[in-house]
Amino acid sequence: EAGVAQSPRYKIIEKRQSVAFWCNPISGHATLYWYQQILGQGPKLLIQFQNNGVVDDSQLPKDRFSAERLKGVDSTLKIQPAKLEDSAVYLCASSLSTGGRGPSYNSPLHFGNGTRLTVT
């Protein structure tokens, strides 16, 4: 099966500019996640979608970050305006889980290769 697709692979922008990342999950995966991974740290969840609804965006800096998954398939993550501390790898992941402790609850996350953002 095709994996999680992300683009672009790399992006360099100046602070205060805007940037957008795109993710196409594995076909049939109901849940989509965006993670931020700062150098030397583990991934930190930014937002979790169940189909086209937001399940958890408690750690998303909503004053500058936004994300959408309008048709319940692919998703975009936007930063506007970017700050220096936003330099990180942005990982998209998807899973079969349909939410709650149902049969697919323990299904693992499948990750894309990420987008490395450098803010100068």
Binding site: Y33, Q41, G42, P43, D56, A93, Y105, F111
Partner: protein, 110 residues
């Protein structure tokens, strides 16, 4: 809230030697635990997972992990390390979301 801790930031082992990477978890109920590996410039790849049953879990690439409830641990092991195992390893715990440890970077000496 659930969390995992990886006490070792960086480990160096010789090729052919055994490996154990530590992971401690904090969770009130039966945890769902995972180990992922990340090679440079790549996303995370699932090595193995535990959610119930046999406490010794086998994964890909010759890795295994043992769940020990009494010690709140889920350590990753491999009997003989290969140079290609050099990477970053992340322990993760799942409840409503997936939370990752800070990672352990593995260096393999020839």
């Amino acid at each position: 809230a659930q969390s995992v801790t990886q006490p070792d930031i960086h480990i160096t082992v010789s090729e052919g030697a055994s490996l154990e990477l530590r992971c401690n978890y904090s969770y009130g109920a039966t945890p769902y635990l995972f180990w992922y590996v990340q090679s440079p410039g790549q996303g995370l790849q699932l090595l193995l997972k535990y959610f119930s049953g046999d406490t010794l879990v086998q994964g890909i690439k010759g890795f295994e992990a043992e769940f020990k409830r009494s010690q709140s641990s889920f350590n990753l092991r491999k009997p003989s390390v290969h140079w290609s195992d050099a990477a970053e390893y992340f322990c993760a715990i799942r409840d409503n979301d997936m939370r990752f440890g800070a990672g352990t970077r593995l260096t393999v000496k020839p």
